[in-house]
Amino acid sequence: MRKINQDKREENIYQTQKKGFWHEIVKARWPYLFISPFYFLFLIFGAFPLVFSFILSFTSWKGTGPLIFNNFGNYKLILTDKVFWQSMQNGLILFFMYVPFQILLACVLAVILNSKRVKGFKFFRTVIFMPYISSMVAAGFVFQLLFGSRNGLVNSILGFFTIPLIPWLDSVWGARFALCALIVWAWLGYNMVFILAGLQTISSELTEAAMIDGANSVQAFFLITIPLLRPVILFCVINSTIGSFNLFGELMSMFHATGGNGPLNAVITPLLAVFGQAFHNFKLGYASTQAYVYFLLIFVVALLQLRLFNKEVD
């Protein structure tokens, strides 16, 4: 008798597994119905473009007309595409130019604001966060004027110290530097708020104990606070990595006269390269190829970063 019961139970389990997915869905149909809008929207605006653009990446589609497949022609084309690889390189250069500096500055500001001695904590937090919510179009325009090579405020101030005019927006590195200034200004508060939130979860007893053991405040910052903040910093770094490859609004407003590319394509990013091929040149097939190659590369970079940081945590 017991044997039979056991067999029945196994049979039940087997049947459940066989029915599996759909059986579960039918069983919980009401909850699924209530959350279904997400799936519909995802299918239309997420999954469909993803699949369609993958198909497009093998075609020379211009936006209308039939899909004409050119096999791997687009992928061959991308190997010799100087502009595309320049855009990947730009993402990397910009990353190294501003991300370490920005994260460090955000940490320092957050620690200062977190200390009990600062009065008007909320005021300063708001002021530092403010640029993030201001219009990027307006900000880019203002920075373009600030860094004007001949009449810009920055060069006027430098001229006061008898430093010769620097061709900010008329040279490759000048343009990148001016762009980094805009990015740090705009995104510092955003990163700082995350780090500040992270800091508030760290018990002050840890730093106090370190101080009692003879550490000074700089040592306490680098040896206690920063390691404990690692997960938050990791989040900020990965966000900034993707951010520096995905720059778009900043470029479109600050370098609008060159369509966002900057002098000699100094600041063109992969996103801008894809946009240019799709909406300037109407090469939607090739733009899809670029988008997919770009996605794969940045996916690998993000994975590497996760590995690297997690290892150090262990």
Binding site: K62, T64, G148, H256, T258, L264, N281, F282
Partner: protein, 481 residues
């Protein structure tokens, strides 16, 4: 049981919401997949130079001297609503032409949507791709026209424009034609001139009389000598010609005047031809020694140096439509300081006429009311009276040659120190050669050539190498030989 019914009802309601939400985009954009060849205008997204004049202009009043030519036809007048996209609405509105059109066609409702050129092209591209949402009438510059014709988004209007084909500047049709069919009606031509600051020329001890200046800048080499004199005597820059941010427009003007371009009439890429390289090297002389300003066109510092009373550039090489922009929002404060001379020839005795930009009006193939759309286009662009009134107001030189005998062309222009500029416009417009600068791949070619010029200008590469690299890339991406 009761709860079950309630559940089912709630489910139905939600499902209705979801489905209706999904259905809307689906019906609006039925042809995302490329099933049928649609013939619509599209959007090209670079910064185009002919932004609409925003301020009320300070020009002499319109001179509607020519009598309206086309009499209303016997056929019943078209009716209904048409939508129009573009940036030159003001040219039609402020001259009273829109009101006149409404008087003649009271049953047509006009819905103007004022977009910048960039926005027009972008929205048009999406509307064509989606198969829905395009306007009836759309303004497109010649530089972007062929790209939209190639997208199959514009209506074939061959029969309608037939009578205007011999009446318009011949080169204006090049971008409007594909496989013998016509897709747009020319509006204005863009003959190029040397606009110069009389005060700067005088300060440099040079004559500021147009004929003298024309002789002074007979060739690009002579223009360079003039520029050097101005730089030495006054310290002022000759014209804006950026190195690291060059947009290739002046280079294109210099190519066009020689009948050269980015490809030849057989569709063969000529970006790296010996003549193109020589043209770039000729222009490169202006950077060494530096006699030009580095401001990028269509930015604030660029406007400022055109408008400055005491710190301006000496000149600008640009098309006639620049007139309205100088007169109004760019350099409104400099009336009487400007002169207009012929542009330099590439070599002694060669053509001193070129083209830059110029617009057309086209009908979208999605238009439900092409008759009303054509009635509007014909009223605005096909009649001497309309074209002349807009010309007087904007300096958009009509492509319609039947207007050229009008008295307006003999009227002095106060902004240009009472010079008879329109006579000069006419003379030059007739000499513009046919050249293959624009075309379906213009944006792509302009992008690569601009980068090549930037590399050459900043000493990163020789002119020949930079243009060769650009040409190879253009061939690879367009498949043109």
């Amino acid at each position: 049981m009761k709860t079950k019914i309630v559940k089912i009802l709630v489910g139905f309601i939600i499902l209705t919401f979801v489905l209706s939400a999904c259905a809307t985009p689906a019906t609006q954009a039925p042809t995302l997949a490329p099933t049928k060849p649609v013939a619509i205008e599209t959007a090209a997204p670079i910064v185009a130079p002919t932004t609409a004049p925003t301020n009320p202009p300070t020009i002499e009043t319109a001179a509607p001297t020519a009598a309206p030519t086309a009499a209303p036809t016997a056929a019943p007048k078209p009716t209904g609503k048409i939508t129009l996209w573009g940036w030159s609405y003001d040219a039609m509105q402020s001259t009273g032409l829109v009101d006149d059109f409404q008087k003649e066609y009271p049953d047509i409702q006009l819905d103007f949507v004022k977009y910048s050129s960039t926005d027009t092209y972008q929205n048009l591209q999406l509307a064509i791709s989606a198969g829905t949402g395009a306007p009836d009438v759309v303004q497109i510059e010649n530089s972007h026209l062929a790209q939209f014709v190639d997208l199959d988004g514009l209506l074939d209007i061959t029969d309608r424009v037939q009578q205007y084909i011999p009446l318009m500047n011949a080169y204006k049709w090049v971008d409007a034609v594909k496989d013998g069919k016509y897709y747009a009606m020319p509006w204005d031509s863009g003959p190029v001139f040397l606009y110069y600051r009389r005060d700067v020329f005088k300060a440099a001890g040079l004559s500021d009389v147009p004929d003298d200046v024309s002789a002074m800048v007979a060739t690009w080499d002579k223009y360079l000598e003039t520029c050097t004199t101005i730089k030495d005597k006054t310290g002022k820059n000759c014209f804006a010609f950026s190195r690291a941010n060059n947009d290739a427009r002046i280079y294109e003007i210099a190519l066009w005047q020689q009948g050269l371009g980015y490809y030849d009439k057989d569709g063969k890429i000529t970006v790296d031809s010996a003549q193109n390289v020589a043209t770039l090297e000729e222009l490169g002389k202006f950077w060494n020694p530096m006699v030009v300003s580095e401001e990028q066109a269509w930015t604030d510092p660029w406007y400022a140096e055109l408008n400055s009373p005491d710190n301006s550039v000496a000149s600008i090489v640009e098309a006639s439509w620049m007139g309205i922009f100088l007169k109004t929002w760019i350099a409104g404060g400099t009336a009487g300081q400007w002169g207009v001379a012929e542009m330099p020839a590439f070599a002694e005795g060669q053509v001193r006429a070129s083209n830059d930009g110029g617009s057309t009006l086209a009908i979208s193939s999605q238009s439900q009311n092409p008759d009303a759309a054509w009635a509007f286009i014909e009223f605005m662009l096909g009649r001497d009276n309309s074209q002349l009134r807009m010309f007087a107001y904007t300096d958009f030189l009509p492509s319609l040659e039947t207007t050229y005998g009008d008295a307006l062309f003999y009227e002095p222009d106060t902004f240009f120190s009472s010079e008879m500029t329109r006579q000069l416009y006419l003379k030059v417009a007739k000499e513009i050669p046919t050249a293959y600068v624009y075309g379906p791949n213009y944006q792509l070619m302009n992008g690569y050539v601009a980068t090549a010029i930037q590399e050459y200008a900043t000493g990163k590469s020789s002119a020949a190498d930079a243009l060769k690299a650009a040409a190879d890339r253009i061939r690879a991406e367009t498949g043109m030989p």
